[in-house]
Symmetry: C2
Subunit: 259 residues, 2 copies
């Protein structure tokens, strides 16, 4: 026997991911966030204008789905301390396995593949939601809820999710660090970073039409050793120079193979 409809949600966590999920869930008729749970009363205040809030020990027993949006390294501990039995409990992390959740609950994952910032509103409609559940009926219920929030719902096992998260580290964390390094170079030349924003935007937007393999340009793509050597000489910072050399070699390797 299983729940025909899961309409009552409890949100555990009060950070960026919790905030974005909460906003999106509030727009869904027939889904109700009956409570937001968190340690810090100040952080709960925002949610308190819309729904019940509580500290962890006072978590409601009336939820159909418990959605945990806490930092990766606290998932296991928080989950162990939840006074819940037999409830459907999911976390929202890309890198933490389903098994980190307490065995006292029916377990699942509800991973939104996106970077969330406090002050940027963004629609979940385009955000891939990656679902996993131990029980197939639970998976159906998670899919039903996810489909209300996003047009891109995927069923992804823990192993695939680990690879996906790793790919996201390259595409998001490392890319952002390259933006930072380019800003450092511009600062050294007294040039404003916003000069690069159109280029950065188009580099990303282009992927709608062209694969990254086809989109590659630049001195390393052309194996233009003269420009590469000149660039290496311009770079005074040892780490910047190492990054330049390694990524240039990786590009040369990529296209050398195909020649």
């Amino acid at each position: 026997m299983y729940f025909c409809r899961m309409n009552k949600l409890v949100l555990i966590g009060t950070g960026n991911v919790a905030m974005h999920l909460f906003r999106a869930l509030r727009e869904c008729q027939d889904l109700e966030v009956i409570q937001v749970v968190g340690r810090d009363p100040a952080a709960r205040a925002y949610f308190g204008s819309y729904t019940d809030t509580a500290a962890l020990p006072e978590i409601s027993q009336q939820g159909d789905l418990y959605l945990m949006a806490v930092s990766d390294d606290t998932i296991a501990t928080v989950s162990r301390n939840l006074p819940l039995e037999g409830k459907l409990l999911v976390h929202t992390s890309g890198s933490v396995p389903l098994e980190a959740l307490t065995e006292r609950c029916r377990r699942g994952v509800f991973y939104p593949l996106q970077t969330f910032s406090k002050n940027r509103h963004l629609s979940l409609r385009e955000v891939p939601l990656c679902l996993e559940a131990e029980d197939s009926q639970d998976l159906v219920q998670l899919q039903r809820i996810a489909n209300r929030l996003s047009d891109r719902v995927y069923q992804i096992g823990s192993e695939q999710r680990r690879q996906l998260h790793l790919a996201a580290v390259f595409a998001n964390n490392f890319t952002n660090h390259l933006y930072y390094l380019s800003q450092q170079i511009l600062e050294g030349a007294s040039l404003p970073f916003d000069m690069l924003l159109p280029l950065i935007g188009e580099t990303a937007a282009k992927l709608q039409d062209v694969s990254p393999h086809e989109a590659q340009t630049g001195p390393a793509r052309r194996a233009d050793e003269g420009t590469i050597a000149a660039h290496r000489q311009l770079l005074k910072d040892a780490t910047q120079k190492d990054v330049y050399t390694l990524l240039s070699n990786s590009i040369k390797q990529t296209y050398g193979k195909k020649l």
Copy 2:
């Protein structure tokens, strides 16, 4: 004595940059591309529907401005072989110094800081145009034309332009290569690359509001050695592993300093 108005342009080159400049220039009343010059008759065909085209030796002597959009490594040679004297000749490259142009002409640079692809239309309005000229009156004329095309016109010397181009290699070429590496990881897990597009788009778009220094997230930012070690183990490809390690270390270094 100098030209009060420079309205007649000759475009040298038929590639992506030439194509995008030509499209933008055609939309400006009172500017006229009187000729497009290039080696390859097939490549000239597109331009031939709109204006006169010719091979290099038949270049028109009636131009006020000669805009050279050829590949970096041919700028010096092509410029040397141009049958022009005392004309204003500019190239469009980020990495080539003004001095690569022939001394028989008044020299300048007209560098659009953007990545151009054949099949993507994009407005030059937002594209930074970086200008340089030996003669101050020529610079004024270049500025007048650039202002017709773009809202972001900068005067940038050759040395600054070299740094700008280097920064662009990080922000565009290297970033695109990271997209490629993330696609490789996804392929290995039988996941489609387009799952990452919303994340990639938001990572770039975020910079409108937040500096890359503030925007940084991920295991290296948190110095989360457990996840870093797990990721390194997942990566089977030696180059991917090196890239992961070097960029993680660079991130740790960046934020370690500030602690």
